[in-house]
Each structure stands twice: as structure tokens, then as C-alpha cells.
């Protein structure tokens, strides 16, 4: 059947759009929503309810609708949208839901983004009050943003046939929108819902940019955009939602809000039925009855719960053959699926539609999110803004004023007050329109429900929560609305109780014999309407999600087949497998090269901080456990840093570049943290110190050149440098030319071998690397990655901060008492070493472990126990394996471990549970290779 009116509405009757619903083909027009297009074909049943499987229809015409949940299948599946907010497009496929949506199993190809906007006045809601507010603000020269969730401005006017100043309201709206859009500094955003209101004028709004285009949406345009609006002043003109009345069997499709029927008629040219009964507590539904009757719908009856019907409207109804019965209520309905009759005063009135109006709830969600206090308005039966909020004003029906004249007046006042508060002078008065509406008075009766079968009197149609659920909750002793909401689940569905919340509060108050005013309303939480996860993630996806850092030499590593490890934000070569090699064989090869020939790695990710100033030495003495001020220019010292709690936080070498200048290195992952740490101390504790810190990590490319043959390779590329052991001692540095570019070469070693760390500006990094590779070729130079670095240092017992340590380890635990100054009166962490826990003999200490079977590789992270059989849990654990490798140099496996009283257990046999076996291990000193340090000089 066709329920489309011959004329009217803002749809484009010249475009025919094809779509399917539950597999059946339909047509509609551009300008339709899925809901209006279905109603135009007489389809009211959309889905079924989540708990009882009862059919569910369309209750409201907009985003407050509690029932018309659909799943969109094309162009891409999206769950849980409201048919009333899905704009129709060619090729739309949708189906009704039973309260649960389905996620697509493939990834979403659409783009999403975010945009920042700053303005003087933000107006939320482009109804009459909002339009006047925005225009008032715009005319005074303020930067104004006007957002509205609809695809066109007009708000409540879109759903009525009112004339303003003797012309159709649409024309009044169009004029204002045109002026706004042509005023510089004014931004009008359609299809944009302000969904969250935060502090300091921060408002988030979601704009649906291409959803309505369906398959025609250009892939290059972000589908949805989050507007991050920072505004000085806000005017909330968010309107009011009509609320129903609860009565038995109030959930049948065909039962809808009176205002929705008007909207479908006036905006979409759709009749919601053939024969409609109206049940109301106030005047506004009379207009729905009259409009429908004038459009050819049979409207036999208005049931007005008030003792007396409004005389003038009743007369108008009589003239149209509509019977008005005052002092009566709808006590039930009938029908299989869609409603076929309503019960009034013991009789059944046949109908296919029941329009309900129980009054209006101002939309106060954003006001409440902004922490505005609400006040119960007993006449309205609803919560309204209860206080003035500094920079947030409310106008229009969101305040509870329902007639147009008051709404636009408030809009103008709020707009003008907002611009003045934003520092502008309000210029001229926007003329206020006069409406011809017949039904705007707010005199209504507050009626929450009609007594009757409580099990079928639905309060929350989406959650299938009934009056009996509410009464069970109060009967169970619950008093707080928050408890009752949770007990009944009312207001927790996708609509967040927009139409049900107030009614639930009213029914609770009735049940408890208190006034709704005595109750604290449940909190409105963002978002106002649901927002897709992808929209919130925006562009923070894939490659843009925490961008990767790579070194200057990275392309070479990629070209040479390196596998990479994520370290902090960096990609570091992990190892360079040759054909047929796995991790272990590659690493053994790389280690062998470093210990017997020459090898090199890309160490550029190491954090580097340039510390300058006359107090630099004094400052570093406080940060490091050892003494840095005594370091001579030209020399290098290894240092350890602790937190105030005495636990190791970082380590690295410190180079004294000049009298007042040091270059500090940090671990790769901690570079930023250590710079922050330094700046925090300098700025907040020791601002009198003359010290400046600059991160120079990215300025340098750093290449450790390692192995007995490293001297030969260096000599080949650094002709100016005397590389002899005597001229260039261990723990010193030289500025020279390497591969023809300025370089700083440090003689330090993290492997125990003769080694040089070559630093050049990052710009030259790749070239120098390639030159070194070429110069080293005769010696079989081998690039190595982090894994080999880890093995080499572990053989020497050097800890890796973050691997051997876990924020519970002191320098002493690591066997590094030698790096803790006894001379310095203080340094950060020192005092903590004197605490009871630090004095315990059974602290966990770093040791080496040699599996008794030299071919057994202990898993890193394995625990260590003392008994040779596994007792019942809980088993006392002595510590754990921090690092474990096969070693080419040792010809066997080995491990480092933190073990209770480890330093005094050297020589003991302990056990490591691995799967079901216990692996015996011998505790050793942590230095397993070249304990005497004979190799570092080559």
C-alpha cells in the first residue's frame, strides 16, 4: 500500500531510490530516512525486542527513537543504527534487529578524521531558538559555529506545518541559514551531533559526511569527522523530546509519538496509518490529529487524559469529525504484530495507529554533561536546567518553554548574552517571528502510566523493561534511581533512556510515594548519541598510530634482509639471517665475527643528551651514582642512574666534551624519559644550577665497530687518527675524520672486545656505514643486530636496564658497587640504599647460570628454585632467568639471573623448572668471558 501523500515534505519526488529491507525490495526518495521510506510502504514492524521477541516498530522520528534498530549491510555492514536516522540511498540493504547488531568480519575501508575548530559562540541545535541565537551572534561579528544533527536546519519546525510571519516556516529557516552561511566567520554544520561537552568550552561533535551517499560516497572523503570545538560561549538549543505514556501493551508497532506522526507527514510526506487514535495528556497532539485528518487519515478519536479537553481545539476537532473524550485513558491495545485496536473505557476502538503524547522532556544531556544542575519542573513533569552555568546558556524548548514565541525570544537573549560575554557588542535585534500555531501551550497533565497489566506495560521498549520490573525493584528495597536503572536495565540501551528515563523516575516516585523532585536523576553520560569507534580513532590508525622511528642507516638494514625488533619507538635490526639461518645460527655467526674478526652494528638509537653549563659536572654528580665532575676532558665514564627509591633506572656512558660540556648516552627506550628526568630536577629543584640539556639523539649516527680487527678497519677509514692502544686508550674519545667526514670516535666496548664507537652526523650515517662495510670486507666484517649485542654483553655480565632490572634492582644487586660513589655526600637514590630492605643479605643479585648440561638453553623468564624435586605449590622461588643464550665464545649455553643471595651462592647447584623437568644449573659469577679484560685492548 502507498502511504505517501501526493505532495508536501522536503523529499525529492523526482529521484527514485531502490533499497531492500529484510530482503524485500522497496523504493523511496532522496530526502527520506529508512524509516520514512518504510512507513511510506506501510511497513511498521522493524525488529523484535531483545528479551521477549515482541515486534518492535518506530516510536519517534529522530535519534531519540527507542526501537527502530537496523543493521545496514551495504555498502559496508554497520550494526545498531536507527531507521529514523539512516538517510536513504540507492542500493541500501538493511534488516531489522532483535536488539543485537553484528560486526563485519572484514576491516572497514572508510577513512575517518578529526578537525579542530575554535569559535566565540557555539550553538547546538538549529531549531528556531538556535537559528535566532546563531544569527544574533553572527551579526555582531563573532565567530559562530552552528551544529545540528539533521541534514537540514529547522529543528522542530521540520515536523510541523507552521507559518512564521505569514510564510511557510521553511522559508524563514532558509533565509536565516542563507545569511549565516554568507557571514564570514560562521560555520554551519549539518548532520553534526554535539555528543560530548567537557571543560573549558570543549565540545565534541560528530559529522556524518558521506553516509547519506551510500555507494556514491567518494573514498577520498572522510566518512565521518569528529569536530573538536573549543568555544568561548555555548548556547544549547537542543529542543525537547516528546515522551509517551505507559499503558498495557504499549509496545506494538503502529504505536508512536504524536509528534513523530507529524514529522513523517510534514517532512517526508508520509501518512503513518489509515486510521489513527490519539492518546494525549496535553494540547500538542491535537495538531497531529488535525493534520492527519486533513491529510485524509481517519482519526476517529482523541483520548485526552485531562479532565477537560481544550475547548478551542476540541471544536476544531469536532469540525473534522474527530471525537474528543476527556478524562479517559488508553488501557490496552490489541493486534498480532501491528496494533489493530485500542482499549478505551472498556471498549475496543479499531485502528492501525495509536499516537501518544505524554508531554515533553527538554534535552538537557549536554547541559548536564557540562555539570549543570537540573531542577524538576512539576508542571512539565520533567527535569529542566536548574542553574545558570557560566559560559553555557540554554534556550528554547530545552529550557522547558514550549511555545515558539518564548523559544525564539530566549534564543535571541542567549545569543546576545553569549556574544557580549565573548567580548563583542550585540548589534541590532534579530526580528522575532510570529507563529500561527494552534497547539503550543504547555498546559498538560503529568501522567506516567495507566494502571493495568504491569507485565506488558513497557517503560523501556528496547530493554523490554516493564512497570512490574520497576515495582519489583522498589519492592526489593531499592530507592536510588541508579539502583533501579541497574536492576531493571531501563535507560541503558542505545537510546540511553531518552524517552524512558523520565517516565521511569516518575513511576518510581509514585511507587515510593515521593516527588520526582526529591530524587536525584541518573547522570547523563557522553556521548549523547552513539559514535563509531573508528570515528573516534580517526587518523590514529595503521602507520599513523604511534609512528615508527628509523635510523639514517635503516634502508641498508632493510636491503640486507635484517629482521627488526621494536625497541621503544624504534625499529632496530634484530639479526641479519643469511639464507637458511634461523635466529640462533645467525646470532652465533654474528657473535663469532665480533669475537674473532670484526663486526658492526647500528647503535644510532642510543639516547644522547648534550649537557652544557658551568654546573654540568655538579648536576651529573647528583644524577649518577658515580662521580662525573672528576672526569677529564677527552675521557669517558660509564654511569648508572637511580630513582629516588634507589632502583636503577638507566645507564650509559658519559663523555666529557669540554670543561662545561658533557655528552650523556641513555638506553634506547629511555632517551626521552631521562631528558625529562634531567629537566625536571633542573627546573623544579635546582633552578640555580647553570645547566642546559638538549636531546641530540637524532643528530648522530652511531656505529659500534667491534672485534680484534676493528682497529685495522678504523685505521683504514680514519687516516688522521693514531689508533694504537697507547695513543687512543680505552675510555677516551677523539674527534677526527672517518670516511672523509667529521666524526667522534669513542673507545668504549659493550662486548668486551676491542671496539670503537663511531659517531657522525646522521646525514652521513649511511655513507659512513657503507664505507666501513667496504673497508671491513677483507676482514669479513659482519653486521650484527640487537640479539648479538645482547649475547656479547651478557657473556661479559653487563646488564641491560629493563631486562636484568625491573625497578626492584639496585646497582649493588647488579654487582656494580664499584659504580656507586662512596665519596659523594649525596646523589639521587643514595639515601634509599640505607633502608632496611636494601640491607638484607638475601636480596636478589645478578649472577651467571651454567646449565649442567651445556647444550640446554634455559628459557628467559624461567624461575629458579633450590630443591631438586618440585614441591607442591606454592613453591619458594629464588629468582628468575633474565637472559639466556647459546654462546659461540663459551661453546655452550649460559644465562644471567637474579637470584636471592646470588653473590654468595656462586658454585651452588640450583634448579630451573622447565615444562615438567628440573634443569640443574651452576651459579657462577656474572662475568663469564674474559674476566681479566684482556681482549678490550685488542
Amino acid at each position: 500500500m502507498n502511504f505517501r501523500t501526493p505532495t508536501g515534505g522536503t523529499i525529492d519526488r523526482n529521484t527514485l531510490l531502490h533499497f531492500t529491507f529484510n530482503g524485500e525490495g522497496f523504493t523511496g526518495h532522496s530526502g527520506d530516512t529508512l524509516a520514512s521510506a518504510l512507513l511510506a510502504h506501510g511497513v511498521h514492524e522493524i525488529g523484535s525486542s531483545v528479551k521477549f521477541g515482541r515486534p518492535r516498530g518506530i516510536v519517534a522520528a529522530g535519534s531519540e527513537d527507542p526501537t527502530s534498530l537496523v543493521q545496514i549491510e551495504t555498502p559496508f555492514p554497520e550494526p545498531m543504527l536507527l531507521a529514523t536516522t539512516v538517510e536513504l540511498y540507492e542500493g541500501l540493504e538493511a534488516r531489522g534487529l532483535a536488539g543485537q547488531g553484528r560486526l563485519a568480519s572484514i576491516s572497514d575501508p572508510a577513512r575517518y578524521d578529526a578537525k579542530h575548530e575554535h569559535c566565540d559562540v557555539l550553538v547546538v541545535g538549529a531549531g528556531p531558538a538556535g537559528l535566532v541565537a546563531a544569527l544574533t551572534a553572527a551579526r555582531s561579528g563573532a565567530r559562530v559555529v552552528l551544529v545540528d544533527e539533521q541534514n537540514q536546519a529547522g529543528g522542530a519546525l521540520l515536523g510541523v506545518d507552521e507559518y512564521l510571519d505569514d510564510r511557510p516556516s521553511a522559508s524563514w529557516v532558509a533565509d536565516i541559514v542563507a545569511e549565516l552561511k554568507s557571514t564570514p566567520g560562521v560555520l554551519v554544520l549539518e548532520r553534526t551531533t554535539a555528543f560530548g561537552m567537557y571543560q573549558d568550552g570543549f565540545v565534541l561533535a560528530l559529522q556524518k559526511r558521506t553516509d547519506h551517499l551510500g555507494f556514491a560516497a567518494p573514498a577520498s572523503v572522510a566518512r565521518q569527522r569528529v569536530w573538536r570545538i573549543r568555544t568561548k560561549q555555548t548556547v544549547l538549543t537542543t529542543g525537547a523530546h516528546e515522551r509517551p505514556v505507559v499503558f498495557p501493551d504499549n509496545d506494538r508497532p503502529g504505536i508512536m509519538l504524536a509528534s513523530a506522526a507529524r514529522t513523517f507527514l510534514h517532512r517526508y510526506g508520509v501518512l503513518v496509518g489509515s486510521r489513527a487514535v490519539v492518546f494525549t495528556t496535553n494540547d500538542s497532539a491535537y495538531c497531529a490529529a488535525i493534520n492527519l485528518a486533513e491529510s485524509g487519515v481517519d482519526v476517529p478519536l482523541i483520548v485526552d487524559a485531562r479532565p477537560e479537553a481544550p475547548a478551542r481545539l476540541a471544536t476544531e476537532c469536532a469540525a473534522r469529525g474527530i471525537e474528543v473524550r476527556a478524562g479517559q485513558v488508553v488501557t490496552g491495545t490489541e493486534g498480532e504484530g501491528r496494533v489493530t485496536g485500542v482499549h478505551v473505557a472498556g471498549a475496543t476502538v479499531a485502528c492501525d495507529t495509536l499516537l501518544v503524547s505524554g508531554g515533553w522532556n527538554p534535552v538537557v544531556s549536554l547541559f548536564s554533561q557540562a555539570r549543570g544542575k537540573l531542577r524538576y519542573d512539576a508542571e512539565l513533569g520533567a527535569f529542566v536546567p536548574g542553574e545558570e552555568l557560566g559560559s553555557v546558556r540554554v534556550a528554547g524548548s530545552a529550557t522547558g518553554e514550549l511555545d515558539l514565541a518564548s523559544c525564539v525570544r530566549q534564543g535571541r537573549e542567549a545569543g546576545s548574552a553569549a556574544v557580549v560575554a565573548a567580548g563583542f557588542s550585540s548589534r541590532g535585534q534579530v526580528p522575532l517571528p510570529v507563529s500561527d500555531s494552534r497547539c503550543t501551550s504547555r498546559s498538560g497533565l503529568v501522567l506516567w502510566r495507566v494502571p493495568g497489566d504491569e507485565d506488558t506495560s513497557f517503560v523501556d521498549l528496547q530493554r523490554d523493561a516493564t512497570v512490574s520490573d520497576v515495582l519489583r525493584a522498589t519492592g526489593a528495597g531499592l530507592r536510588s534511581l541508579e539502583h533501579i536503572k541497574r536492576y531493571t536495565t531501563i535507560g541503558t540501551a542505545h537510546d540511553q533512556g531518552k524517552t524512558s528515563g523520565m517516565i521511569a523516575a516518575g513511576i518510581v516516585a509514585e511507587a515510593l510515594g515521593v516527588e520526582p523532585a526529591d530524587q536525584r536523576p541518573t547522570t547523563f553520560r557522553p556521548p549523547y548519541t552513539s559514535v563509531s569507534f573508528a570515528a573516534l580513532a580517526g587518523r590514529d590508525r595503521g602507520a599513523l598510530h604511534d609512528p615508527v622511528r628509523v635510523t639514517a642507516i635503516h634502508p641498508w638494514h632493510v636491503a640486507h634482509g635484517a629482521l627488526f625488533e621494536n625497541v621503544g619507538q624504534w625499529k632496530r635490526p634484530w639479526y641479519y639471517p643469511q639464507p637458511g639461518e634461523d635466529l640462533h645460527t645467525a646470532v652465533l655467526r654474528e657473535c663469532r665475527a665480533a669475537r674473532s674478526g670484526v663486526a658492526m652494528m647500528d647503535g644510532s638509537t642510543l639516547g644522547k643528551i648534550d649537557v652544557q653549563g658551568s654546573d654540568a659536572g655538579k648536576f651529573l654528580d647528583m644524577l649518577y651514582t658515580n662521580m662525573m665532575s672528576t672526569l677529564k676532558v677527552g675521557r669517558i665514564r660509564y654511569g648508572v642512574m637511580c630513582g629516588v627509591d634507589g632502583m636503577v633506572i638507566d645507564d650509559g656512558t658519559v663523555i666529557r666534551v669540554g670543561e662545561e660540556r658533557y655528552l650523556v648516552t641513555t638506553t634506547t627506550g629511555n632517551a626521552a624519559k631521562i631528558l625529562d628526568w634531567m629537566e625536571e630536577w633542573l627546573q623544579t629543584e635546582w633552578p640555580h644550577l647553570d645547566v642546559h640539556c638538549t636531546s641530540v639523539t637524532d643528530h648522530w649516527a652511531t656505529i659500534p665497530l667491534v672485534g680484534p680487527k676493528s682497529r685495522d678497519v678504523l685505521a683504514a677509514v680514519a687516516p688522521d687518527l693514531d689508533v694504537s692502544n697507547e695513543a687512543f686508550e680505552f675510555m677516551t674519545w677523539r674527534d677526527t675524520q672517518v670516511a672523509g667526514v667529521p666524526a667522534r670516535v669513542c673507545r668504549i666496548s659493550f662486548s668486551g672486545e676491542l671496539a670503537y664507537e663511531i659517531n657522525v652526523t646522521a646525514w652521513h650515517g649511511l655513507a659512513v656505514w657503507e664505507t666501513l662495510m667496504a673497508a671491513g670486507a677483507p676482514f669479513g666484517i659482519t653486521p650484527y643486530g640487537t640479539e648479538t649485542m645482547h649475547v656479547l654483553r651478557a657473556e661479559k655480565g653487563y646488564p641491560i636496564i629493563g631486562q636484568e632490572t625491573d625497578a626492584t634492582v639496585t646497582p649493588h644487586d647488579l654487582g656494580m658497587s664499584w659504580a656507586v660513589s662512596k665519596k659523594k655526600p649525596d646523589f639521587i637514590g643514595k639515601r634509599s640504599f640505607a633502608r632496611a630492605e636494601n640491607q638484607r643479605a638475601d636480596r636478589k643479585q645478578l649472577v651467571g647460570l651454567l646449565p649442567v648440561d651445556p647444550s640446554v638453553l634455559l628459557p628467559e623468564g624461567a624461575q629458579i628454585i633450590s630443591s631438586d624435586h618440585l614441591p607442591e605449590p606454592p613453591v619458594r622461588m629464588l629468582g628468575h632467568v633474565t637472559s639466556s643464550y647459546p654462546s659461540a665464545a663459551l661453546g655452550r649455553t649460559f644465562a644471567l639471573a637474579l637470584v636471592r643471595s646470588g653473590h654468595s651462592r656462586i658454585g651452588e647447584t640450583l634448579y630451573v623448572p622447565v615444562s615438567d623437568a628440573l634443569v640443574p644449573v651452576t651459579v657462577t659469577d656474572s662475568v663469564l668471558y674474559d674476566k681479566e679484560g684482556t681482549r678490550r685492548d685488542g
Partner: protein
Amino acid sequence: MQLIPCPWCGPREEAEFHYGGQAHVAYPSDPSALSDEEWAQYVFFRDNPSGPFAERWSHSAGCRRWFNAVRDTRTHDLLAVYRVGEPMPEVAS
């Protein structure tokens, strides 16, 4: 997301800042003279009031300066900001 008025740069988005906890907790002049209890107070114990709280912020993605603020922890409203070394301003709570 709040606007935090950096005393050097002016109001900026909260996301640009790093939080530093209670302000005016000076590093003890001689930690070795403190008892374990006193030292623990310095290391671990901080005021945690519900109401105005003098605290440290650093404009880490901006000028990188540390500064102090008085903020009401109930509302998160910033009542005052001031530079390191300046005394805590009087604020109406």
C-alpha cells in the same frame, strides 16, 4: 580535555602537558640526616586532597617548562598557575 594556562605560552590543550604531582615538595637538603620514616615521606607520600591542590605540570609538548598550578581536584578547575619559585597564590576554594 581541559585548557591549561601555561604561564609561559598561554592556554593550551591538556594533551600537551605532563603531570608532576604535588608541588613544593623540596628535595631534602641532607637526606642522610633523615630517618627512614622521614625519607619515605619524601619518596612515597604525597598530599592527595579533595579540593584545591598545589601541583606541578610541565608543558612537555610546548615550551617544556615546569610550572605550578592550584587546581580543584573535585572539579578539575584550574584556580591559578604560577612559575617555579613563586609562592603559591591565595585562591578561593
